[in-house]
C-alpha cells in the first residue's frame, strides 16, 4: 500500500472531526466487508453546506477520506452533494490504491445520505 501525501496529511491531521450539536442533516455510510463506518453531520445555510463534521471507524484511508470529505462538502449545494460520486472523494485524497477504493465509496455514501437527510428535513419545515 502506498498512499498519497494528501491522504497521509488528512490522516495525520483530520479536519472537522467529532460530532456536531443540532446538525441540519446526518448520514452514514458502511462498508460491511471490513466494518468501516463513516458518519457525517451537516450545517446548512441557503441550501448549501456551511460546515461538515465526521466521525468514523475504519482503516487509515477511510479516516482520511472522511476528513477530505468534509472539505469537499463545505460550500456544496445539497442537491449536488446528494449526487456526489466516489471519484470526487478519491481525487480529493490524491488517489487511492485499488484495494482501498472502499474508503472513497463509504464516504460518498455517507455524504449523499447526509445531504438527502438535510433535504428531507428542509422539506418538512
Amino acid at each position: 500500500m502506498r498512499y498519497s501525501d494528501t491522504l497521509i496529511d488528512h490522516f495525520r491531521n483530520p479536519r472537522n472531526s467529532g460530532m456536531m450539536r443540532a446538525p441540519d442533516g446526518v448520514g452514514e455510510g458502511e462498508y460491511a466487508q471490513c466494518m468501516d463506518l463513516a458518519r457525517f453531520y451537516l450545517r446548512v445555510r441557503d441550501g448549501r453546506v456551511e460546515e461538515a463534521r465526521f466521525q468514523a471507524y475504519g482503516c487509515g484511508p477511510t479516516l482520511a477520506a472522511c476528513s477530505a470529505g468534509t472539505e469537499v462538502a463545505a460550500g456544496t449545494a445539497l442537491e449536488a452533494l446528494a449526487e456526489i460520486e466516489d471519484g470526487r472523494i478519491e481525487a480529493a485524497l490524491g488517489g487511492l490504491p485499488p484495494e482501498r477504493r472502499h474508503a472513497a465509496k463509504v464516504v460518498a455514501l455517507a455524504l449523499r445520505a447526509a445531504a438527502r437527510d438535510a433535504m428531507a428535513r428542509r422539506a418538512v419545515h
Binding site: 500500500m1 472531526s17 452514514e28 466487508q33 471490513c34 466494518m35 471507524y57 475504519g58 482503516c59 479516516l63
Partner: protein
C-alpha cells in the same frame, strides 16, 4: 520520521550479520551445483551438509531426518500432503487457529476425499489435549498442530498432545515455524514425527526452511524431478540459503535462552505501558505460555489498520491481524476462534519483538501508541455516546 522501530518479527526478521557472513561465499565462489561430482559441486555440498548437521545438532536428531524446502509453507505442505499421499485416505486432526499453510492444505485434502476435524481453542488460544484424544478415530492418519501461534503467541501443549498421539500410534506434525529457535523443543519427549521450521522467522534468509521427518515415517514427495534430498524434495538446493538457515539455527541454540528472557521482560513492559495509558485494551493469547517476544493487544472500538498506519507514520512497524497472508482487513480468525467479540477483535495489533529491540524502542512505542489511540477514539462514531441518526 527518523526513528524506526521494527516490532513485526513474527512476520519476518532481518538476517543476522553472522548468517549473512556465512552465506556470502556460496553465491559467487562456492557456487557449484551440490549434485555435481567435481570439486565445485563438493564445496557446495559440504556447505549444505554442515547446515544439516547444525540443525540436527540443535534438534538433537539425525542428519538424515532433515529435508530442506523453500519456506515454512512448503514444509507444511510437504509434511501434511506427503504423509497423506503415502496413506491414500483417512482423517486428519488440526485446529482452527493454524496458519493458512496448514489450514488450506488440509482443506485441499478434504476436497480430495480426506476428512478433517478442526479443534477449537480456549480463550487463551490453547488446544485442549483431551479434545485431541476425543477426536482420534480408527482412520486418523495425522494430527497437525502448531507449536506456537504466530498471531497471539500462545504455546500449545505439544508434550501432552504428543503423548496421546504416540499412544495412538498416529503421526504428529508440528508447525514449528514460530517455535523452533524461540522456545525449547524436546523432539524425543514431545513425540514429534514431522516438524516444520523456517529461516526468515529466526534471522535466517527468506526462501529456505526445513522439515524434520522422523526416521521410518512413510512419506511421498510432492515436488517431482531429480533425486535431491534423498528423493524427498526434487530441485536444485538453495545452497546459500541452506547455509544461512544452518547458521541461523546454530545461533539460536547459543542465544535463545538469554534473549528469550530479555524479550519476555520487554514484552511485559510494553503491555504494562499500554495498559496504563489506554482505557479499553486487552491482551490476547496466554498470559504466560506464550512466545517471549509476542504481545498482541486489542483496542476497543477502533480499527487495527488505522493504528498500524498511525504507527507506521511514526516509523514503527507492527501488524494488524494475521499479516503473513496479504494486506487484507478481515477480522482475525484466530481471535474469532478464541471467542473474542468482533468490536474487540477488529482492533487487534500484534507487536512482535526481536533481537534488535531495545528498552528505548519499547518506550517510544508506548509514547506513540497511547496518544494515537486516544486520537482515533475521538474520531470513532462507535466509541462513547453519539446522537442517533435520524
Amino acid at each position: 520520521m527518523n526513528r524506526r522501530v521494527y516490532l513485526d518479527h513474527n512476520a519476518s526478521t532481518p538476517v543476522h550479520p553472522e548468517v549473512l557472513q556465512a552465506m556470502l561465499p556460496y553465491f559467487s565462489e562456492r557456487f557449484g551445483n551440490p549434485s555435481s561430482v567435481h570439486g565445485f559441486g563438493r564445496e557446495a555440498r559440504d556447505g549444505m551438509e554442515t547446515a544439516r548437521e547444525q540443525i540436527a545438532d540443535f534438534l538433537k536428531v539425525s542428519k538424515d531426518e532433515i529435508v530442506f524446502t523453500s519456506g515454512g509453507t512448503e514444509s507444511d505442505n510437504l509434511g501434511i500432503k506427503g504423509l497423506a499421499a503415502a496413506r491414500g485416505s483417512g482423517h486428519i486432526i488440526t485446529s482452527q487457529i493454524e496458519h493458512h499453510a496448514v489450514l488450506r492444505t488440509v482443506q485441499t485434502l478434504e476436497e480430495q476425499g480426506f476428512t478433517a476435524t478442526y479443534l477449537p481453542v480456549d480463550g487463551d488460544g490453547m488446544v485442549n489435549p483431551d479434545d485431541v484424544k476425543k477426536a482420534l478415530r480408527a482412520d486418523t492418519i495425522l494430527v497437525s498442530l502448531m507449536g506456537a501461534n504466530s498471531e497471539v503467541g500462545t504455546l500449545q501443549p505439544i508434550r501432552e498432545i504428543g503423548r496421546i498421539t504416540r499412544e495412538a500410534a498416529v503421526p504428529l506434525h508440528v508447525d514449528g515455524v514460530q517455535t523452533v529457535g524461540k522456545v525449547p523443543i524436546d523432539m524425543g519427549a514431545f513425540g514429534i514425527d514431522l516438524l516444520s521450521f523456517s529461516g526468515h522467522k529466526i534471522y535466517g534468509p527468506k526462501g529456505v526452511a526445513g522439515l524434520y521427518i522422523r526416521k521410518g515415517t512413510k512419506m511421498a514427495s510432492i515436488q517431482h524431478g531429480g533425486e535431491h534430498e534423498r528423493r524427498r524434495r526434487a530441485g536444485t538446493e538453495n545452497v546459500a540459503g541452506i547455509v544461512g538457515l544452518g547458521k541461523a539455527v546454530e545461533i539460536r541454540g547459543r542465544d535463545m535462552a538469554v534473549e528469550g528472557a530479555r524479550l519476555t521482560a520487554l514484552r511485559d513492559r510494553l503491555w504494562e505501558g499500554v495498559r496504563a495509558g489506554v482505557a479499553e485494551v486487552r491482551l490476547n493469547g496466554h498470559p504466560t505460555e506464550r512466545l517471549p517476544g509476542t504481545c498482541n493487544v486489542c483496542f476497543h472500538d477502533i480499527e487495527s489498520e488505522s493504528i498500524v498506519l498511525g504507527l507506521d507514520l511514526k516509523g514503527i512497524g507492527v501488524s494488524a491481524g494475521s499479516a503473513c497472508t496479504s494486506g487484507n482487513v478481515e477480522p482475525s480468525y484466530v481471535l474469532e476462534a478464541k471467542g473474542l467479540p468482533l468490536d474487540w477483535a477488529m482492533g487487534s495489533v500484534r507487536c512482535s519483538l526481536g533481537r534488535g529491540t531495545t528498552a528505548e524502542d519499547i518506550e517510544y512505542v508506548i509514547e506513540s501508541v497511547v496518544p494515537l489511540v486516544a486520537k482515533l477514539k475521538t474520531l470513532s462514531p462507535v466509541a462513547g455516546a453519539a446522537p442517533a441518526v435520524s
